[in-house]
């Protein structure tokens, strides 16, 4: 296998995100994940829609297309179906993916097309200078909601899993190590993979994720889920998750006789999505982060990673299968084998 470095995946175009924008770090994570995966730049394509984050293809020394707002996933779908041999990434924003592109998103999930979707969730429309998005918490004050929004947000995970998504991971923009791990897992997964990046837009929604990403609270407000490992978190790694009836509950190891053995063990491969959805929704209220009362940490890492038939494979497989069922190999052979007559 050829060894690649981040530099092999950097184009000659300088990054144009604002200073301090979370997208800088995610760009680096993507390039490093690509290098670590060892797939040649020429075998890789990055397709995006429109938004600050969607500028990403220009920065990648791969094949790429910066397309139109909301449609990157549909274009990536066509590319992957026509060219299953390529590794196809889709870069999209919370507006691009879940507002204008929402229809394509749910259908990409349902079909389980083998795409690696990096969803830059900054809970704001960055490129158009600061309107609320479908992931903005209820009440968020923005230029288009000067008195606060009066609508509830989507949590991307519930849409992904609700639409039969087979892979969902979450990472924080600045956490390069875990971002790379999530992205690599996404590429290894056959089928539609969503990596939700909690990104900070310093200009229009600075600190939008700080309830969970602020270094002062992060360890207590997030849990990194790892397949096969007990669910432990906290500054002192003394907190854990257990099941209490239908609900997940946070407990302290050593208190009330709780030991590590009592904790839930993460199983990302569970086909039934119910529990993955519960994990993915920890720390969210119907209104967003704000108002979450369950005191649970937000789940990071690979939450769901189950096998399914990928659409591109099924399309190619069916073509091969039906080729064996008919004699005609060309259009002419086909037409000649039907109802014809000859004029001499």
């Amino acid at each position: 296998m050829t060894q690649y470095t981040q530099a092999d995946f950097k184009s000659d175009q300088p990054l144009k995100f604002c200073a301090g924008c979370g997208d800088h770090a995610v760009a680096a994570s993507m390039q490093r994940a690509m290098a670590e995966l060892g797939i040649a730049p020429s075998q890789t394509a990055v397709i995006s829609g429109i938004g600050c984050s969607s500028r990403m293809p220009y920065y990648m020394n791969t094949y790429g297309m910066h397309t139109i707002h909301g449609r990157g996933l549909a274009i990536a779908t066509g590319l992957k179906v026509a060219r299953p041999d390529l590794t196809v990434w889709n870069v999209t924003g919370d507006g691009d993916c879940l507002a204008i592109g929402g229809n394509h998103f749910i259908h990409a999930m349902r079909r389980n097309i083998d795409l690696n979707i990096i969803l830059f969730n900054n809970k704001i429309y960055g490129l158009t200078k600061g309107q609320y998005s479908p992931t903005s918490d209820r009440g968020l004050v923005t230029k288009s909601s000067p008195w606060g929004t009066v609508e509830d947000p989507f949590c991307p995970a519930e849409l992904c899993i609700g639409a039969r998504g087979t892979f969902f991971a979450r990472a924080i923009d600045g956490d390069i190590k875990n971002s790379i791990a999530a992205m690599k897992a996404a590429v290894s997964h056959k089928g539609a993979s969503v990596v939700e990046m909690l990104c900070n837009c310093v200009i229009f929604a600075d600190g939008i994720h700080k309830l969970v990403t602020d270094p002062a609270v992060r360890a207590d407000k997030t849990i990194l889920l790892e397949d096969g490992k007990p669910m432990i978190y906290g500054k002192n790694r003394d907190k854990g998750l257990v099941l209490d009836g239908w609900n997940i509950k946070s407990v302290t190891i050593g208190e009330n006789g709780v030991t590590e053995k009592d904790l839930l063990v993460h199983d990302a491969k569970m086909v039934d999505p119910t529990f993955h959805l519960k994990l993915a929704m920890m720390g969210y209220s119907p209104y967003g982060y704000a108002g979450a009362t369950d005191e649970l940490p937000i789940a990071l890492g690979v939450i769901r990673d189950v096998e399914g038939i990928s659409y591109d494979e099924a399309v190619a497989g069916q073509i091969e299968e039906v080729k064996g069922k008919k004699k005609a190999r060309t259009l002419r052979e086909l037409l000649l084998s039907g109802d014809t007559w000859e004029v001499k």
């Binding site: 184009s11 175009q13 040649a40 730049p41 020429s42 075998q43 394509a45 397709i47 429109i50 293809p57 220009y58 990648m60 020394n61 791969t62 094949y63 790429g64 297309m65 910066h66 397309t67 139109i68 449609r71 549909a74 274009i75 990536a76 779908t77 066509g78 590319l79 992957k80 179906v81 026509a82 060219r83 041999d85 390529l86 229809n103 394509h104 259908h107 399309v315 069916q318 073509i319 039906v322 080729k323 069922k325 008919k326 005609a328 190999r329 060309t330 259009l331 002419r332 086909l334 037409l335 000649l336 039907g338 109802d339 014809t340 007559w341 000859e342 004029v343 001499k344």
Partner: protein, 614 residues
């Protein structure tokens, strides 16, 4: 049996009509296919019911199929010589299509009170009620009862028996036209190969229907239709939408690429999706997308991946696809966009034909967004138009919009099965692996203005495309001079295509001073009208446009020769307006109709006469 009166005809039009469950489309198809096999030219047009789930026997549920057969056939015909009406509703809806003195065949078993009431007849004598009692040759045939009798011993249930009525009626029509039953039997045998019981029943009733005619109706005139001298070859009967699909397949085979169709169902374009989906065994990929936008976007992604990519739709779908067509213009990707036009605006008349999307296709995008727009002129021409659209898209890296319409898409004519050897070469404008290191994705050919496209997966040719304006090195640019230059370059690329398409051909009289023009699916009607008038001694010239953007190179030269130009089209004069804007100093008169129906030949004739007489 008396000696029947045989009418020798150079052409004849038959219209089969009945309830939508009566199998009129099948009866009509068998009739036209057999006619074609016997060497007639054919043209057919199905007229589907206005309502999908109308009650049986009601006026809204009537379905018809018109077939024109003969020596030289351009259209399915304005009016018919023979009308088959399987029930009173079919009679009421279709009698207006029957020529005076024509033959009206009707199932007399259905002309009973209950059925007459469903068709909203007030009396039990529909002929008098409609004032047609002395206008036609009436041929009542007990189709329902005879079919029952014919199948009495088979043990089939009443419903299945009733489904064979169409074939009994067809047998009768075969007798009327002196058609050999064997050909119909062959057709039925292949159609019902998997249902031997139904096959046997149909073979029985078609023979009984034929014999019924021979034994009891020796006094009606029967017809013998002349055949033509067609170009030697092997032929098959195709509908326009299938021909479009086949044209794409032929182009992909010739270009050596994969064919990809992204589409969302919409009348009257859906059959293209159906046809291509059937052809997966030829390696065709089809994606039924979640919407029209995804239909074109998946195709665009496939085009980026190196496929011959197409999307098929009708007017409302074009509206949804316009932003993505703009991206294809900007990213300079090959893409075939097929618009099978129907009546509009909005949902309009989904099953009816019109040419009202022309301006939408030429101009309906944001920005200066030129792309090729062309139109097919007959069901068979859909094959060649789709082939040429693919060729231009791949060779010039541009979207091409191909206009057909409900009339062409659903109508059929006979296709001489093409030999791929004789189809023009297709050389896609792509960068080759040896260009690694020197490839410049944004550089243009100085003559054609074409940019070479690199196929993902090729080592060393990585590049980025997108909808943002860029300079000739691919750097995003808002520089005013760069944008101006790029706008002009994209236009010049499309304009150049005028050099590779065929010139406008002028048919008719060299010394005419009236030129009749049109574009797309009206070709047959206009040609028939012009020929009829020329046969009466009128001097006329005719030209029909296949390419609209760009126009053929000799367009201005041709148009400026004539004192009168009459443009016939099924809209409010869109092509005429476009021509006036493109060719200075011409005066174009219009004959337009927007009724959701094809032209009637005699109406075009009248319009021409008016122009010529001044």
């Amino acid at each position: 049996m008396e000696n029947p009166k045989i009418i020798e005809a150079s052409e004849v039009v038959v219209r089969f009509s009945g309830d939508s469950g009566d199998g009129m489309q099948l009866a009509g198809t068998i009739f036209s296919t057999v006619a074609a096999i016997l060497g007639n030219e054919i043209s057919t047009f199905p007229d589907y019911p206005a309502e999908m789930r109308a009650p049986r026997g009601s006026l809204g549920g009537v379905s018809s199929f018109q077939v024109h057969v003969g020596k030289k056939v351009y259209t399915p015909g304005d009016q018919c010589d023979v009308l088959v009406a399987m029930n009173p509703a079919a009679l009421k809806q279709n009698v207006k299509f029957l020529k005076k003195g024509g033959v009206l065949i009707y199932d007399e078993d259905t002309f009973i009170q209950s059925e007459l009431a469903k068709a909203k007849f007030a009396t039990l004598d529909p002929f008098t009620e409609m004032g047609i009692a002395d206008k036609y040759q009436f041929v009542g045939v007990p189709v329902s009862e005879s079919t029952k009798a014919s199948l009495a011993d088979t043990g089939m249930d009443a419903k299945s028996v009733a489904r064979c009525r169409n074939i009994f009626a067809l047998g009768f029509v075969f007798w009327l036209f002196n058609r050999p039953l064997e050909k119909a039997e062959e057709f039925l045998t292949s159609k019902f190969a998997k249902k031997p019981e139904i096959l046997q029943a149909n073979l029985k009733v078609i023979t009984d229907g034929f014999n019924y005619g021979a034994n009891t109706h020796a006094s009606v005139s029967t017809y013998r239709v002349e055949s033509r001298q067609a170009e030697p070859g092997i032929y098959c009967d195709v509908k326009g939408n299938a021909a479009t699909a086949y044209g794409l397949v032929a182009a992909a085979e010739k270009a050596g690429t994969r064919l990809f169709l992204g589409s969302y169902p919409i009348t009257p374009a859906t059959d293209i999706l159906h046809e291509l989906s059937k052809l997966k065994f030829l390696g065709v990929t089809t994606v039924q997308a979640e919407d029209e936008i995804s239909g074109i976007c998946t195709a665009l992604g496939a085009a980026f991946g190196g496929a011959l990519a197409a999307t098929s739709t009708s007017g409302p779908g074009i509206a949804l696809k316009s932003e993505a067509i703009g991206l294809a213009v900007m990213a300079e990707l090959p893409l075939v966009v097929i618009d099978v036009m129907r009546g509009g605006p909005s949902t309009g008349l989904p099953t009816k034909t019109e040419q009202t999307d022309l301006m939408q296709c030429i101009y309906g995008r944001n920005g200066e967004s030129p792309c090729v727009v062309m139109a097919a002129s007959s069901p068979v021409d859909c094959f060649y138009a789709a082939y040429n659209a693919s060729k231009i898209a791949l060779e010039h890296n541009t979207p091409v919009i191909l206009l057909t319409d409900a009339f062409l898409g659903n109508g059929s004519s006979s296709l001489r099965i093409p030999d791929p050897e004789n189809l023009p070469d297709i050389k896609a404008a792509i960068a080759t692996p040896d260009m690694a290191g020197s490839y410049e994705p944004y550089a243009r050919d100085p003559e054609t203005f074409v940019r070479l496209k690199a196929i993902p997966g090729t080592e060393g040719l990585m590049h980025r495309l997108g909808g943002l304006e860029k300079d000739e090195h691919g750097a995003i640019s808002t520089n005013p001079e760069v944008h101006q230059k790029m706008v002009r370059n994209r236009q010049a690329k499309i304009d150049y295509i005028a050099n590779v398409i065929s010139e406008l051909e002028v048919m008719g009289d060299a010394d005419a001073d009236t030129l009749v023009i049109g574009w797309g699916g009206t070709c047959g009607h206009i040609s028939a009208a012009v020929e009829n008038l020329r046969a009466q001694g009128m001097k006329l010239a005719q030209a029909h446009f296949e390419y609209i953007v760009p126009l053929p190179k000799n367009t201005a030269e041709v148009l400026r020769k004539y004192k009168n130009i009459l443009c016939c089209e099924l809209n409010n004069g869109q092509f005429a307006a476009y021509l006036r804007s493109k060719v200075e100093g011409i005066s174009v008169k219009e004959f337009t109709e927007v009724k959701g129906q094809p032209f009637q030949i005699r109406d075009i004739e009248e319009a021409i006469v008016k122009v010529v007489k001044g």
